[in-house]
């Protein structure tokens, strides 16, 4: 099953490679991994999307927790949570496609953040499946390139992950 893990780790050189190294050393999957410092500059907040049976997820959580730089790890699947991902897509936008692409972007609440005579760059946020749906809605020959951040998430309401 797909799980979304939220981590707080010391904002130290090498902390990311410890987490990534653990996943590869123990053969765990990483679907996506995002990390950046947040309101407290001494900490980085990482979101990892992984898949595995309950036993595997339990082991992942324990093993990650054992890393000295990790302050906290929470499996967001244990409660209600929200998650978002950002995608930037560059599209070939000429002739009649221009209007059509803009309309599709609007439907998905995407924004055009760069445009030239022949291209658009569209910014889109949402859950992963929404981004997938957008890509599917577009004629593949028009997609020049795309980049995605991977998911980040937070628990809903009063559920707060703090150091």
């Amino acid at each position: 099953m797909r799980h979304i893990l939220s981590l707080l780790l010391e904002n130290e050189a090498g902390a990311l490679s410890r987490v990534a190294g653990l996943f590869s050393a123990r053969g765990y999957n990483i679907e996506s991994l995002t990390v950046a410092p947040t309101e407290d500059a001494t900490l980085s907040r990482m979101t990892i999307v992984t898949t595995g049976s309950d036993d595997v997820i339990e082991q992942i959580t324990k093993q990650v927790n054992k890393l000295i730089d990790v302050v906290k790890i929470v499996d967001l699947n244990e409660g209600r949570h929200v998650e978002r991902e950002l995608m930037l897509v560059k599209l070939r936008a000429v002739g009649k496609d221009r209007e059509e692409l803009k309309r599709t972007a609007d439907i998905f609440r995407g924004r055009i953040i760069d445009l030239t005579e022949k291209t658009y760059v569209i910014e889109l946020t949402g859950a992963g499946d929404k981004l997938d749906a957008f890509l599917e809605a577009i004629d593949p020959s028009l997609i020049l390139e795309a980049v995605r951040t991977g998911a980040c998430g937070l628990g809903r309401g009063e559920w707060i992950v703090k150091a």
């Binding site: 090498g14 490679s17 190294g21 036993d55 000295i68 302050v71």
Partner: protein, 584 residues
């Protein structure tokens, strides 16, 4: 300045004196009460060595290869319970040390390894003797640090010792660039550290302990399974008390030998791939299993599917300091995360005050005695050829079962574990997790430094001993009267055994031609060499060797080339699927 002039570490908060990084390293060692630093010099650590030369608080031991420095420090830690310390230079010094570090990591040994690094401004430039020490060691350390600012050096070393020795112990590397060793900072060695990201659980959950006790007291076929964690956690006294109070059978893993006295009747022997019939059968057939500081690894329980499927109703209680060891390979019913010693103290107190007394388990003991009656460790004695098991038995007699015994890896290791009955913890020093050939001699060195008056024997094979044979020179320099017990079967015996069993008797590269004359080799290093070829000479030779209190004696026993280690659970099989000597 001299070390003795320095401010008393850990006793004052007033800091005025500036010390260089190299001085800080030495003062930190002093503050930690380090007795020995095992190491080897080189460019990146020259300044540290210069400081070591000026001080007298700890002794530096110059080995002949960095791998041996780490192994010796590791053995010091295993034998004493105090952290071992090694010091190596950058680049090749570090890569040579990696085998030692990985070996310590797999067996959770508390160690601090100080490594030199090229100057900070040269890092990343492919400088001479540069390597990414933090990157290379990351998967085989509990934690590692690269210190880029001399102002953080003292606290980092404190953290290294703290991390290495608390929770589930392990090796910690502190990588110090040369310019950091040379730069100066005020010296303050903190007496404690608090890390928000590292607060190991120590106290077991009261409710879980209670639940475990009820389960244990109402068991009909109980089994106590004790691993290396009980030794690392200094809990063998508690293990012994608890097992005695319960009257239940007890087994130790390879790493746990000595946690429960092997000469006691309740001890059913080591379990696992080369465990006894009674230990493996009891493990497989019990109704309540309590695992204490053990991790159900593949060499111990064999195939986990077989282990579970053969006995789906077995209830398991698991006490361990490391939550990730629990339910990793086998799902447990009552997990207890905590310091083993404290958890067992609590259990002992509860039994004392409980109204419920342990179940009489006469029927279960009767069954166990039937398994024991198979006498699975018996071997055919010979008048003409030395049986390796016999040498170990005689070694036990001659040393009254009280020596520190180190081993390398192979058949000799298993015979040492099976036939030298360990009654005390921290006496059996071997590489269980990584299975590193070459540890035996440096392990014996570490033990001998820690306990100069004790008998120290290194049981080895002619393959393994040659992996760190150069340390005979270190033994000469420091006058270490170790007894090397070479069970010389002229084969990489354990490999040959597997080839005989599973690879159609094809001895692919397991026979080593051109062995050295070990007697002459020992003599060349300035030691005593002995060659023993007849069973009748074994005991006399051992007595003679151990009587030479001041000399290292290298005893080359020519043993039976065809002898195999039994019982044996083939890889991937269940632990009750043993091959016995009599089956063949």
């Amino acid at each position: 300045m001299k070390l003795s002039d320095a401010p008393q570490a850990a006793s004052t908060d007033v800091v005025t004196t500036l010390l260089t990084g190299a001085e800080i390293v030495c003062h930190a060692m002093k503050a930690e009460g380090v007795e020995f630093v095992f190491g080897y010099p080189g460019g990146a650590v020259l300044v540290i060595y210069d400081e070591i030369h000026k001080q007298s608080h700890f002794k530096h031991i110059l080995v002949r290869h960095e791998q041996a420095a780490v192994h010796a420090a590791d053995a010091y830690a295993r034998a004493t319970g105090r952290p071992g310390v090694a010091l190596v230079t950058s680049g090749p010094g570090v890569t040579n040390a990696v085998t030692g570090i990985a070996t310590a990591y797999m067996d959770s040994i508390p160690m601090v390894i100080i490594t030199g690094q090229v100057p900070t401004y040269a890092i990343g430039q492919d400088a001479f003797q540069e390597c990414d020490t933090v990157g290379i060691t990351r998967p085989c350390v509990k934690h590692n640090f690269l210190v880029k600012d001399v102002g953080e050096l003292a606290e980092t070393i404190k953290k290294a010792f703290f991390i290495a020795t608390t929770g589930r112990p392990g090796p910690v590397v502190v990588d110090i660039p040369k310019d950091v060793s040379m730069a100066s900072a005020p010296f303050h060695y903190p007496s404690t550290v608090d890390m928000r990201s590292y607060r190991p659980t120590n106290k077991g959950h009261g409710g879980q302990i209670k639940k475990a006790m009820q389960m244990l007291l109402s068991a009909e076929r109980p089994m106590v399974y004790v691993g290396g964690g009980a030794i690392l956690g200094d809990a063998s006294e508690q293990v012994t008390t608890l097992v005695k109070m319960l009257g239940y059978p007890c087994t130790n893993t390879l790493m746990g030998l000595g946690a429960y006295p092997s000469t006691d009747r309740q001890f059913v022997g080591m379990l696992g791939m080369h465990g006894t019939v009674e230990a493996n059968m009891a493990m497989q057939n019990c109704d309540v299993l309590i695992a204490i500081g053990a991790r159900f690894d593949d060499r111990v329980i064999g195939n986990p599917t077989h282990f579970n499927a053969g006995n789906p109703t077995r209830k398991i209680i698991h006490i361990d300091i490391d939550p990730s060891s629990i339910s990793k390979r086998v799902k447990v019913d009552v997990p207890i995360v905590g310091n083993i010693k404290d958890v067992l103290d609590e259990m002992i107190a509860q039994i004392k005050s409980a109204e419920q007394k342990p179940n009489g388990i006469a029927a279960w003991w009767k069954q166990i005695e039937e398994w024991r009656a198979k006498d699975c460790l018996k071997f055919k004695q010979s008048d003409t050829i030395i049986k390796p098991q016999y040498v170990v038995q005689k070694l036990w007699e001659v040393t009254k079962g009280d020596a520190f015994v180190t081993s390398d890896v192979g058949q000799h290791q298993m015979w040492a574990a099976q036939y030298y009955g360990f009654d005390k913890p921290r006496r059996w020093i071997n590489s269980g997790g990584l299975g590193t050939m070459g540890v035996g001699l440096p392990y014996a060195m570490g033990c001998k430094f820690a306990f100069p008056d004790a008998d120290v024997a290194c049981i080895t094979g002619e393959g393994s001993i040659q992996m760190n044979i150069q340390e005979l020179s270190t033994c000469k320099q420091y006058d270490l009267p170790i007894k090397v017990i070479l069970l010389n079967n002229r084969y990489l015996g354990m490999v040959r055994q597997w080839q005989d069993f599973f690879h159609g008797n094809r001895h692919a590269e397991s026979y080593m031609d051109a062995l050295p004359d070990f007697v002459k080799l020992a003599e060349a290093y300035g030691h005593v060499g002995m060659k023993i070829e007849k069973p009748g000479d074994v005991e006399g030779a051992l007595k003679e060797a151990f009587a030479l209190k001041k000399r290292l004696v290298f005893m080359d026993f020519l043993t039976d080339q065809k002898e195999n280690v039994f019982p044996m659970v083939p890889g991937g099989k269940g632990i009750s699927e043993m091959i016995l000597a009599e089956d063949l």
